[in-house]
């Protein structure tokens, strides 16, 4: 395929990926890498580099909506970013030594986990009313604008959250996704942050984490402007469109269809890795 045909095609595919990623809350990386590798036959190393740029674009596109909303807890984000950026550097370093087949299989497993999360209905959990000692000492307790006025929340299990975030950083860099699913898991379930706080804070962290590993991949020559450029532009447009559409779209059916597609892609990536047909 010539570049003048490939470039607009990549742009439109990325608009769709950014749109789906922001509407389902699963990020664009899980769509873009399978499309590039399975659909366009792009080498996984280039696909990962381009996807990380798309992840940053999606996070920045959504940040415009989040930055002044009062949901982002910057202190929690900053403490956990020590874990995610250190993890990202470790993951990008490990990726230089792992065989491509192993990365493909790990990515396939990430896709299966993402599909499972997409299909499962979200569960509302009660929040703790008691402040946690460590959170209080670190000044992490906060409040957010709920419909009935400011609502206080008390994060807990900070060390466990920190450890999981390191893992999220490693995985994000290794396979080139935002790891939003793991970040939200750590903040929703372990640290018990309200959903909107964890979503906004996670969005801030995803961009910072991906920036750490994108730098490493830039130096390794895995970021090709003719590939990452149109994908970044498309993902940016898709994410901005998604943020506008989100309040008016029923996402339940979308999540189930999306989950099935992602699961299929995950199986294919595992088979490709296992049979060495990358």
């Amino acid at each position: 395929m010539t570049l003048s045909l490939l470039t607009p095609l990549l742009f439109f595919v990325s608009v769709a990926a950014g749109l789906l990623g922001s509407l389902t809350g699963l990020g664009g990386g899980v769509v873009i890498i399978p499309v590039l590798v399975l659909g366009f036959g792009v080498d996984l190393r280039y696909a990962i580099g381009a996807s990380l740029i798309a992840v940053i674009a999606t996070s920045s596109g959504a940040a415009a909506a989040y930055v002044r909303d009062g949901f982002t807890n910057v202190r929690i984000a900053m403490i956990l970013e020590i874990a995610t950026t250190a993890g990202a550097l470790a993951g990008a370093w490990i990726a230089g030594y792992l065989p491509l087949a192993a990365i493909s299989i790990i990515f396939g497993l990430v896709l299966l986990q993402t599909a499972y999360n997409a299909a499962r209905p979200p569960v509302a959990r009660p929040f703790d009313a008691e402040p946690d000692a460590l959170s209080t000492r670190l000044g992490l307790n906060g409040d957010y604008p709920a419909t009935e006025g400011p609502a206080a929340y008390f994060p807990r299990r900070i060390p466990q959250g920190f450890a999981v975030m390191f893992g999220a950083g490693v995985l994000s860099a290794l396979v080139g996704v935002g790891s939003g699913v793991i970040k939200v898991f750590a903040m929703d379930r372990l640290m018990r942050l309200p959903f909107k706080v964890s979503t906004a804070t996670s969005n801030f962290m995803i961009g910072v984490t991906a920036a750490a590993s994108a730098g490493v991949y830039l130096h390794r020559g895995q970021v090709a402007p003719a590939l990452a450029g149109p994908i970044a532009l498309g993902a940016l447009a898709g994410a901005m469109l998604g943020a506008k559409l989100l309040p008016r779209v029923r996402t339940r059916t979308l999540r189930i269809i999306f989950g099935c597609l992602v699961a299929l892609a995950g199986i294919q990536m595992i088979v490709k890795g296992a049979t060495g047909t990358l």
């Binding site: 550097l89 020559g221 895995q222 402007p225």
Partner: protein, 131 residues
């Protein structure tokens, strides 16, 4: 809430809306750089077949922030698009720098240190020390 605290919140609120505009401007600039670089690049190389099936890496001029900037100033189209990509990578970094300024203005030594560690880790990645 006492008077100075109210003024303080007001001031940070204004800073935050300025930050929002700054980040949007950064995203816009990187989008324009990528788009214009790509258009010129395609005008010259549009007929070539894509070379992403086999991993060959990128030329030296496209792999280090300083060399990318230097080549982009010389109007090399691939480097212009890559500079746009680089600007996009820097948008979240700018947000961390802004957080550092906020913590420093509040004289919050602990979180200023935390934010400096994050910035140092980002610097390690961008400078290619791990690559």
């Amino acid at each position: 809430m006492n008077e100075p605290a109210v003024q303080h919140e007001h001031r940070t609120g204004a800073l935050e809306s300025r930050l929002g505009r700054l980040l949007n401007a950064g995203t816009l600039v990187s989008g324009i750089l990528i788009a214009s670089g790509l258009v010129v690049y395609l005008a010259r190389h549009g007929g070539e077949r894509s070379a992403f099936r086999d991993f060959t890496g990128q030329p030296d001029g496209l792999t280090h922030p300083l060399r990318v900037a230097r080549a982009a100033i010389a109007f090399d189209p691939a480097a212009m698009a890559q500079l746009g990509v680089l600007c996009l990578i820097l948008v979240p970094v700018v947000r961390v720098v802004f957080s550092l300024i906020m913590f420093a203005l509040r004289k919050d030594a602990f979180y200023s240190a935390v934010t400096l560690i994050v910035l140092a880790l980002l610097g390690v990645g961008l400078w290619g020390a791990v690559a």
